[in-house]
Amino acid sequence: MYLKSLEVENFKSFKGEAVIPFDRGFTAITGPNGSGKSNCGDAVQFVLGARSAKVLRAQNSKDLIFNGGKSNRPARNAKVTLVFANPALSNGRRRLPIDSDEVRMTREVRLTKSNNTVSTYLLNGEESNQKSFHRILGQANARPDGYNIVLQGDVTRLSSMTAVERRKVLDSVA
């Protein structure tokens, strides 16, 4: 199992649609300051189930929707899809407990008429919810905690946190 591609639509600084293809092995993402590299990581966390909007450097989920930048129209929704390759293993089972070679996990946040946000989850196009996402991803050990995703600044935070905070990190993976 690996992440085949990241599809974003109006997520943070990404206007409209963008597809970022990934391969197996070791992939490097580079680009200038403020170009949107960390926003890709936030997009991955957004689907995996980020602990809170604050982890995505957003005050609330409205901040996740493309705000127009300098001179474009702000969007009304933001959507992220993680596309996983999920081949059958030699014993017939698949890492993600879904019976298909490709698994598309989509999370979308939309502004309603009264300007609140509504979050929806789709699994291979069918309606789902955060709980089943957690369960399915948990089976493949692709959970968002436990330092599988190391956000910008996490390394320095780990060396300067208190001993009690560090023990809590261990609690969360025990």
Partner: protein, 167 residues
């Protein structure tokens, strides 16, 4: 709950010693509970002695780069405890010198045989060791986009071009 924590600590500590020893070319690392009898009443200490340094050094007195190498060793040790199919690292090599950046990029490369590794980086050493390259930019209008036809040469050029312009 206590037995689970102690069992996790034992395994993560075993991994931490091995990884830190490899990433510091022979240094010694160790994790200690402040209060082994009542672990939830205390914290978890991380002790690291880089090669050639005194065994009295406290984490607080280590340099920025030395602390990062210890923290990265702990992150790898935690990952080994419960392996995932893919990992994402965002500029973990910010305060590392070239030799340490190379050690971390090589570690990611070796681990990428068993699991997918995606690393955001500005450093040339890391770009050289990656198999695949993705370029992200914004066109001055605040809109992010992917640079198509991007490869290792273009990735290194992106930094070098800016460097040439800088010199």
């Amino acid at each position: 709950r206590k037995t689970r924590l102690l069992a996790t600590l034992k395994e993560v500590n075993k991994n931490f010693k091995i990884v830190y020893n490899r990433l510091s070319n022979g240094g010694r690392g160790e994790l200690f509970l402040e209060n082994p009898d009542e672990p939830f009443k205390g914290g978890l200490d991380m002790w690291a002695q880089p090669r050639g340094k005194s065994n009295k050094s406290r984490l607080q007195g280590l340099s920025g780069g030395e602390k990062s190498m210890a923290s990265l060793s702990l992150i790898f040790a935690i990952q080994d405890h419960d392996p995932s199919p893919f990992y994402y690292f965002d500029e973990v090599d910010q305060n590392l010198d070239v030799p340490n950046s190379k050690l971390i990029a090589t570690e990611c490369r070796n681990r990428s045989e068993a699991a997918q590794f995606i690393m955001v980086t500005l450093r040339k050493v890391s770009l050289e060791l990656a198999d695949h390259h993705i370029g992200i930019t914004h066109g001055g209008d605040g809109c992010s986009r992917r640079i198509v036809d991007f490869n290792r040469e273009r990735a290194i050029e992106l930094g070098a071009e800016a460097e040439k312009e800088a010199a």
